[in-house]
Subunit: 181 residues, 2 copies
Amino acid sequence: MPAMTSFEDADTEETLTCFQVTVYHPNQDHNQVFQGLRFFNREKLSSMEVVKFGRSPNLCHYTFQDKQVSRVQFSLQPFKQFNSPVLSFEIKNLSKKTSLLVGNIELGYLNKMDLPGRCIVRFGEYQFLMEKEDGESLEYFETCFVRAPRSLLEERHYGKPVPENGFSSSTLPTEMDENEY
Amino acid sequence: MPAMTSFEDADTEETLTCFQVTVYHPNQDHNQVFQGLRFFNREKLSSMEVVKFGRSPNLCHYTFQDKQVSRVQFSLQPFKQFNSPVLSFEIKNLSKKTSLLVGNIELGYLNKMDLPGRCIVRFGEYQFLMEKEDGESLEYFETCFVRAPRSLLEERHYGKPVPENGFSSSTLPTEMDENEY
């Protein structure tokens, strides 16, 4: 049975780090701002890539159909911290017009920062709850988009509460071992 | 004289941050490792981009013709530090096989760090003296490649000495104002 043999001989599959993004916009029910996103679809991406979000389908991997959004709004890039075995992500604001709020830290044009494992990212009326679920692979990761029924700022309905500063306490490295494993 | 008028009415041109890279490889005289680089040519690039260096012309902006080089070896991305009006650069090692030395700091696969204004970067037998000359523009920057006649580690013939740890003291922010302006 050659199929069985090749299955049995194949390398053990590595789990992928999943970058889950729960999105919300006040007009999401009335217009097509999130039409460029496929919800509940896990997409596998290479860690070589920098993933751009914005209005332009030519420049961005994930798009928002809204003229108030910059052609490229922000980018995400995977990397590995010196002291960690798993992927982390860096976010950079690529919009000259709009600030990007990561928790309560304001990123201007070309400012960047390492994302905590769980935080709320905002620009204009857009809200994103970004949550990283660690996997083994370094070469690949996956993304998954979910649509929030209500504003992420009014409600705390995603398991662990997100405090006022927008960062979850479980993202502090000192608490990681206890809370995440 | 419409030509004069449009010249006089044009926006004042901003100076560009120049990222100068002095390269050295022990076999640079005998083979074509640096054939993919145009020396003494200032190339204008967008700050939206992440500039990749490696063997593959399909994946990289700057290539090294050498089978010992990874298809993508490392990347450089411009960004703006929170407390600075000018562009900075981040370097990330994208090679699974080879470490990248930035000064005396070793970057493994997917490790990244902010580049000091002047430092020596190495992988395998490749050596690069990377020097940033600040400009006004944030949207664009330029690169310029120069070929070193001798190893950058043996000689200190680039004006300011590069100490043993590979970092120039002029890259310390506290000394920047005195030394660079």
